[in-house]
């Protein structure tokens, strides 16, 4: 076994370049809308595009107009982190079957320590091959036959492995950088890779270029103290990255005592919210504990156990440090993914949060990634206070889930377990329509509990819907909460059939829109969304 450099970990990276665009494309495909060229926009700039769009000259960083002019037949969608994460889950799951402990820092990239797995499958090359096969199968299934570009790279240090994976993606073969060769490999690369792969601020990179430091090799030669003097803590990080080391030095002071926070429930808990909120409390203690020792957590190992002895492990990485809310959010993501993969047969009895990567805490960390405003800080503090006052279930933020029912497209999640300040920088939107969803515009009032309603024809008999989705008669009167309304116009019925493959969760119904008016108040008309399910009419939403 080669000598391990204590300052860098040997890791394997499986990366899908431009994952945001690929996820959007797969998502559209699943709804029957096939586009070759797809670009994802954030803050009016392209942040990812598919290979077909790239071939036509669409670049990351282009403005919307430019991109449209370059590639007119391209589909443009907004950035949706939730979609990126959900679509990537099958790939993570497939890899986790070979290597139980994987790390997902961002959707589209899986990182794993090679030490154990390489020995298990017989070397780095064999591991790279295995990962290629696994990723290929999972992506093939996801894309329904289309080819999604991806690469596998193995090297010392995360940055080198990421770059190796990216170059592997363009070549189509896995790339293994031999131990202790990362620094040579990096030396010839332009400094812009720091921004592309290590989230170093682009302004800093541009300053490096203007200072004449064009390659990582140039940075590696400079004394760290000079870089720190010029750039602050980031200077040290860049120097370490350029030398192929881990970004944060191993903490030299004694690690804070008892670093794992374990919570054992008295009885198995089946409600995700309860687990996540308990995790938030545990995370609060953990973050405070680490903070007292001047550290913050950059890599968190979350372990979940159920009553039936099932276990799920994953590592989460965020270079600027995880807040308590961010930790709880990761627990929720992990639990959601685990439930979706049907690996869970009973309630959760235990979870453990182990901070396995620490960094020295440098005051306020949130500023490191830039644009969080004062308003965001105020809001996040108010959310804390309101949660303490009213309970976590009373303070909620919307999250996109997708669905055909107006009530399903967004769910409300407890704000205590969402990293709200970080979220404020992205967008929460849905602009892709599901087939069979209600056409836009959407109703502005959506009832949590639908209201029962009677729909009658001219003779006063209830209107029914046949198996062929035909109305028994023209609807003329709607009786809602003992008021009679005349039907002025209507549309539908549109059949909605959901989850027909799953007998326990399937739904069959028809949906209609009615515009109704009262006899006595001639001016007031309302538009309603009405469904018929199990032989009964319900008002589910209103254009209020």
């Amino acid at each position: 076994m080669p000598a391990m450099n204590a300052e860098s970990t040997r890791v394997a990276v499986v990366a899908c370049p431009d994952w945001q665009a690929v996820a959007a494309q797969c998502d559209l495909h699943a709804r029957g809308q096939v586009f070759d060229a797809v670009a994802v926009l954030h803050a009016q700039r392209v942040i990812a595009r598919t290979a077909a769009a790239a071939e036509q000259g669409v670049q990351v960083g282009m403005r919307k107009r430019e991109a449209q002019a370059t590639c007119p037949n391209m589909h443009i969608t907004a950035h949706n982190p939730e979609r990126d994460r959900l679509m990537f889950e099958p790939v993570v799951h497939a890899i986790a079957e070979l290597v139980p402990l994987v790390e997902v820092s961002m959707p589209g990239v899986v990182v794993l320590a090679t030490r154990g797995p390489s020995r298990y499958v017989g070397g780095d090359d064999a591991l790279a091959q295995r990962l290629t096969v696994i990723a290929e199968t999972a992506l093939h299934k996801l894309a329904q036959g289309q080819r999604i570009p991806f690469g596998v790279g193995i090297a010392d240090g995360r940055l080198t492995a990421m770059i190796a994976a990216r170059s592997a993606a363009s070549v189509g073969l896995p790339r293994v950088v031999a131990p202790n060769e990362s620094a040579q490999c990096l030396a010839v690369l332009p400094v812009s890779v720091l921004a592309d792969f290590a989230e170093i601020d682009r302004n800093v990179v541009s300053l490096l270029q203007r200072l004449g430091l064009a390659h990582l090799g140039n940075i590696a030669e400079i004394q760290p103290s000079i870089l720190v003097g010029r750039f602050g803590p980031v200077g040290n990080e860049m120097q370490r990255l350029a030398r192929g080391l881990d970004r944060h030095p191993p903490i030299v002071v004694a690690p804070p005592p008892e670093r794992a926070s374990t919570h054992r429930f008295e009885a198995p808990v089946e409600d995700v919210n309860v687990v996540v909120l308990t995790a938030r409390e545990t995370a609060n203690e953990l973050v405070a504990h680490l903070g007292n020792h001047g550290a913050s957590c950059v890599r968190l190992h979350i372990s979940l156990h159920t009553d039936h002895g099932e276990q799920n492990d994953r590592v989460w990485y965020q270079p600027e440090g995880l807040t308590a809310a961010a930790m709880a959010e990761r627990v929720r993501w992990q639990l959601d993914a685990w439930i979706a993969s049907r690996g869970v047969t009973s309630g959760v009895v235990l979870f453990r949060l182990s901070p396995i990567g620490l960094r020295a805490k440098e005051g306020r960390q949130l500023g490191l990634w830039g644009d969080s405003t004062e308003a965001d800080e105020w809001a996040s503090r108010a959310i804390e206070r309101l949660t303490a006052m009213l309970g976590a279930e009373s303070v909620r933020v919307p999250e996109w889930r997708g669905g055909r029912d107006p009530a399903e497209v967004f769910t409300l999640t407890s704000a205590a377990v969402v990293d709200v300040e970080r979220r404020a920088l992205s967008h929460v939107t849905s602009e892709t329509q599901w087939n069979g969803a209600l056409p836009t515009p959407s109703p502005s009032v959506v009832y949590d509990d639908p209201l029962p309603v009677l729909v009658c024809d001219a003779r006063g008999e209830e209107v029914t819907v046949s198996g062929r989705h035909e109305l028994s008669a023209e609807p003329t009167v709607v009786i809602l909460q003992q008021h009679h309304y005349n039907v002025l116009s209507w549309a539908g019925p549109w059949p909605v059939e959901e989850r027909w493959w799953d007998t326990s969760r399937q739904r069959r119904m028809v949906r209609m829109q009615f515009v109704v008016g009262r006899n006595d108040i001639a001016t007031t008309t309302r538009a309603l969304v009405v469904i018929r399910e199990h032989g009964q009419w319900w008002v589910t939403a209103r254009y209020g």
């Binding site: 405003t373 308003a375 965001d376 105020w378 809001a379 503090r381 108010a382 959310i383 206070r385 309101l386 006052m389 009213l390 279930e393 009373s394 303070v395 909620r396 933020v397 919307p398 107006p406 497209v409 967004f410 409300l412 704000a415 709200v420 979220r423 404020a424 920088l425 992205s426 967008h427 929460v428 939107t429 849905s430 056409p439 836009t440 515009p441 959407s442 109703p443 502005s444 009032v445 959506v446 009832y447 949590d448 023209e474 002025l488 116009s489 209507w490 549309a491 539908g492 829109q513 515009v515 001016t523 007031t524 008309t525 309302r526 538009a527 939403a541 254009y543 209020g544």
Partner: protein, 194 residues
């Protein structure tokens, strides 16, 4: 020197309805009538896009997707369900006012003029903008809160839907703007998508 009042932006088509060209901080706007919720979402949309946070307190059944289609920046929206008791309602609203620029409230039954005054004093001190939704019992809310601007909506025509065909694509809404800060009550017609 006359100094312009600090305002939060409103969408271009609503600018004519606000004498100051935007939502004046510290003031109260009441949206009522049959398009009250859609109107309220539209009123706050530009301000959320510009970076203000919106706290929606006690408004039931808001269509989140509709909010997104009205251009509300959902990443800065927080839904708060206040406790049922009246005193707690006031302190909840006050806590929301501490953190968010924009408040959207549905006023529960039994809120007194004294409660309303406490809320409005807080709003004025913290320079928030308050948007009330008074779909059901508008006159009660109006007398308790004495809003600065009242936008009473009435849908006059639904577009895109016929007898057995099409689907709802939009609507024409008449907005009657009045209130103690509006020099002259006026009627406006708007075309709404949603």
């Amino acid at each position: 020197m006359y100094e312009p009042l600090p305002t939060l932006p409103v969408p271009p088509e609503l600018r004519v309805m606000f004498p100051e060209g935007g939502l004046v901080r510290g003031r109260t706007v009441l949206c009522s009538g049959d398009a009250a919720v859609a109107m309220a979402l539209r009123v706050v949309s530009s301000a959320t896009q510009a970076g203000s946070w919106l706290g929606i307190v006690g408004v039931h059944n808001v269509g989140v997707q509709a909010a997104s289609e009205h251009d509300v920046a959902l990443q800065r929206v927080v839904f708060v369900q206040p406790a049922s008791s009246r005193t707690e309602w006031v302190s909840t609203v006050a806590a929301v006012a501490d953190g968010f620029d924009l408040l959207m409230l549905e006023v529960p039954h039994g809120v007194t003029m004294a409660d309303a005054r406490r809320v409005q004093t807080r709003i004025q001190a913290r320079r928030n903008a308050l948007v009330l939704i008074g779909a059901t019992h508008q006159s009660a809310v109006q007398s308790v809160f004495q809003p600065d601007v009242i936008m009473n909506t009435a849908t006059t025509k639904w577009h895109g839907i016929e007898r057995g065909a099409g689907h709802v694509q939009g609507r024409d809404v008449q907005v009657a703007v009045s209130g103690r800060r509006v020099p002259k009550a006026r009627q406006h017609s708007l075309h709404f998508v949603g």
